[in-house]
Amino acid sequence: MECVFGLVGNGFAIVAADTSAVHSILVHKSNEDKIMVLDSHKLIAASGESGDRVQFTEYIQKNVALYQFRNGIPLTTAAAANFTRGELATALRKNPYFVNILLAGYDKETGPSLYYIDYIATLHKVDKGAFGYGSYFSLSMMDRHYHSGMTVEEAIDLVDKCIMEIRSRLVVAPPNFVIKIVDKDGAREYAWRESVKDAAVASA
């Protein structure tokens, strides 16, 4: 099942997501990137219904870009999170999106932040968060080892511990994970943790 988790460190926020695209018992691909770069300093890690996930996160990404074009300044992380929650809440009683979101961002004035947004539009600012069956393992791991103001090395170590726990204890554990980081220098991919590589596509 889809595993997404994240935490806030000293001047940065990290999110990790599994990279399997699954339909029933079939794994379509195992290098699907579920963490979208929302803008220069924001990441949106989404899990849930695949169509809704892609559609909704792209919709949010384009609207965040539109705000920047119209107003000349980017949205803060809190504003983007509240906008996302608003869209989910409006759609909830009409045509709900089954997407769970962890929104990580860095603002110059307030530093790093992580927002937990449920598929039924419950919004909460957190220091550590997780979705999916993997959350039972990663949240407990983070409860044990997390402290505020962790360095990047300590945080990556904790993320690796969580991935190890998910791989060894979850029955349908996803093999590969992607880790992305956002700090004052922007949002970027940090690393992949692969234990199964997709076969290379044959060239025409």
Partner: protein, 204 residues
């Protein structure tokens, strides 16, 4: 799966001598999993009016935004704050608007009316008001809260004694409810000041 028990909550408001207290638990959960232990369930409308929303967190957040919006408009038009009785009518009307597709919330409203007379009320999810002279409760721990408040309540308590009573009633009730707890948030409001206190109870 009961929709009112999805996130877990406990709310209580009590009347004292020219003062009132409103208290809530701090847990935000998703059924059996705890997501956060610092969730704010009580919001301030103005210095003499507080309200809390128990039930589904997403609807509580949506309702809070709508109510703050309506009160700000009222302030612009009337150039004064809303009386607690008026606010309770507003909440009731907003809830009944959605009679056949309701917000899954139970509000608890507490305020100081004319001549500093404390006012408390609660209502169900479709806006049926329940005025009370002594205390009102809401949330997953409401049955325990009824018992605890009934036995601990005394007429005309001073603010300090009221705080003790409300805190003990809240903590003992949430200790019997697995879906609420992780501390408490108590506001004691007198005509001259608002005292906000965080309680540390059984952190489970």
């Amino acid at each position: 799966m009961q929709i009112f028990e999805y996130n877990g909550s406990a709310l209580v408001a009590m009347v004292g001598k020219n003062c009132f207290a409103i208290a809530s638990d701090r847990r935000l959960g998703v059924q059996l999993q705890t997501i956060a232990t610092d969730f704010q369930r009580i919001s301030k409308i103005h210095d003499r009016l507080f309200f809390g929303l128990s039930g589904l967190a997403t609807d509580a957040q949506t309702l809070y935004q709508r109510l703050v919006f309506r009160h700000k408009l009222y302030q612009l038009r009337e150039e004064r704050d809303m009386k607690p009785e008026t606010f309770a009518n507003l909440v009731s009307a907003l809830l009944y608007e959605k009679r056949f597709g309701p917000y899954f919330c139970q509000p608890v409203i507490a305020g100081l009316g004319d001549e500093d007379k404390p006012f408390i009320c609660t209502m169900d999810s479709i806006g049926a008001k329940e005025l009370a002279k002594d205390f009102v409760v809401a949330g997953t721990a409401s049955e325990s809260l009824y018992g605890a408040c009934e036995s601990m309540f005394k007429e005309d308590m001073e603010p300090e004694e009221l705080f003790e009573t409300v805190s003990q009633a809240l903590l003992s009730s949430v200790d019997r409810d697995c879906l609420s707890g992780w501390g408490g948030h108590v506001y004691v409001v007198t005509p001259t000041e608002v005292k906000e206190r965080i309680l540390k109870g059984r952190m489970d």
